[in-house]
Subunit: 275 residues, 2 copies
């Protein structure tokens, strides 16, 4: 999917919401657990209830891997369901991969070819040749960690490397990599104030912002500091949406929370003159 | 597996060799491709031929993920085969994972519980709370990227953060994390000279050294600079062993190369007075 296609969706749905699919057998409604593929059914019903309000889905690969072969089967079914029923919605493999070039090529193959995701999240520590294999695919995107939402972000990402922080160095250096126009960046919602600075470094790049909701980030701060002239944001909520209710109405509750977030997002998009 | 068990193996086999299982359908012998599970059969025959000479196996998870569900099935079979037939051999999931705590827990579950690996490689960029979930398992280990073998290592790992390099900061900070005694570190063989410095920072830690062979690292340099009083090294070779021959004799050829490396390692272990 091109970034232009994604922006069309943003305008059509008046939303920059990404729904995170962190499907956890310990948290999905008890009635569902007895079904043959409970994880897939849970994700399918979440998607059906939230698709009108979001522009992206972000399966969290760890939650599928944790169930081994069964988990991988569920992930394939979720991606088939999304690609058949909602080809207009942007998909993100939240995988935080990257390795030497020869190996990164294999991860790119897994997520872009095998599972047909539009994008995959990646970690920058191994540098340029660990990331570029993810940028070789036309109309696919790599979303690189810049400044994350967790406490440990301060361990290394905020270290001073000369007059910059490491996360600024990661952003600036990566702008010169091959096919850098296919790069997007992860910036935690809990770091909303740093967004203003990040927008001066990469005014045009799409940012994926996790951490609104369960992790404590504020949508208003993110929108005010992070929106650019065409939007340029994907704000993710996972647990706040998918576990909005632990009852049989979990999908309806998820739809309600997604709709509330979409309405708030519409307000910020209007305020900015984007819609 | 405890580090003491691993050291017993080192002495018994006079080896600190790790064989990397980067099984690639494009490179395994043509006769094998027709078999129902060629990837598993290839790995099994490599293991049977090399087990007398190595103390660890390192399946490269990307190479399995690239084949989707079939790849995951092969990986499970490889791990079952190893855990049943060679429970004394240390296993490393070369996965380079790490995410926010809640998600890292899931990756730990996937590799330590579901697939029963002894260890998993992890990336440090997200800091302490992204790594500690991997350190909660008794007798399991997390092997964290410090200084890698690829060209891109210089992009960030060698940046100066005050009077240290980022990779030194990663090593030093991590020594204070909970259960840090379960941490090992990845140091590329192509960075053999930095090993001397790393040994002053972490004299007692096990180091996983990839990059000997196809990537150009020298075993001699690694042994001289990296061995500590009890060994403290696992040196990995992947392509140099598993693709030593592209013919029907691939397993015999792999065994021969593994034996040669083991004999060189025995020499360095003796020289150091470890055996």
């Amino acid at each position: 999917m091109t970034q232009a296609n994604l922006l069309e969706q943003v305008k059509a749905k008046k939303s920059f919401l990404c729904v995170g699919l962190d499907a956890d057998r310990d948290r999905i409604p008890k009635d569902l657990i007895a079904e043959p593929d409970a994880i897939f059914t849970f994700c399918k019903r979440i998607i059906e209830a939230t698709a009108p309000f979001c522009v992206a889905y972000k399966p969290n690969i760890a939650f599928f891997e944790a169930y081994g072969l069964e988990g991988w089967k569920s992930l394939e079914k979720v991606m088939d369901f999304l690609n058949i029923n909602h080809p207009e919605i942007f998909t993100i493999a939240d995988a935080k991969r990257a390795d030497i070039g020869n190996t990164s090529k294999r991860y790119a193959k897994a997520y872009f070819e095998q599972l047909a995701f539009d994008s995959v999240t990646i970690a920058p520590y191994m540098g340029k040749d660990s990331v570029e294999p993810f940028l070789e695919y036309e109309d696919k995107h790599a979303i690189m960690l810049a400044l994350t939402s967790n406490v440990g972000a301060s361990d290394f990402q905020l270290l001073k490397t000369g007059d910059k922080s490491l996360y600024e160095e990661v952003i600036e250096k990566s702008r010169n990599w091959k096919n850098a126009n296919r790069l997007m960046y992860v910036v935690g919602a809990t770091k909303a104030k740093a967004l203003k600075n990040i927008r001066t470094l990469i005014p045009d790049s799409f940012l994926l912002i996790p951490g609104v909701g369960a992790q404590g980030g504020s949508l208003e701060e993110v929108a005010v500091n992070g929106l650019n002239d065409v939007c340029g944001l994907l704000v993710n909520s996972s647990r706040g949406i998918i576990y909005a209710s632990s009852g049989a109405d979990f999908d309806k509750a998820a739809g309600r929370v997604a709709k509330e977030l979409q309405e708030q997002m519409a307000f910020y998009l209007e305020q900015k003159g984007i819609i």
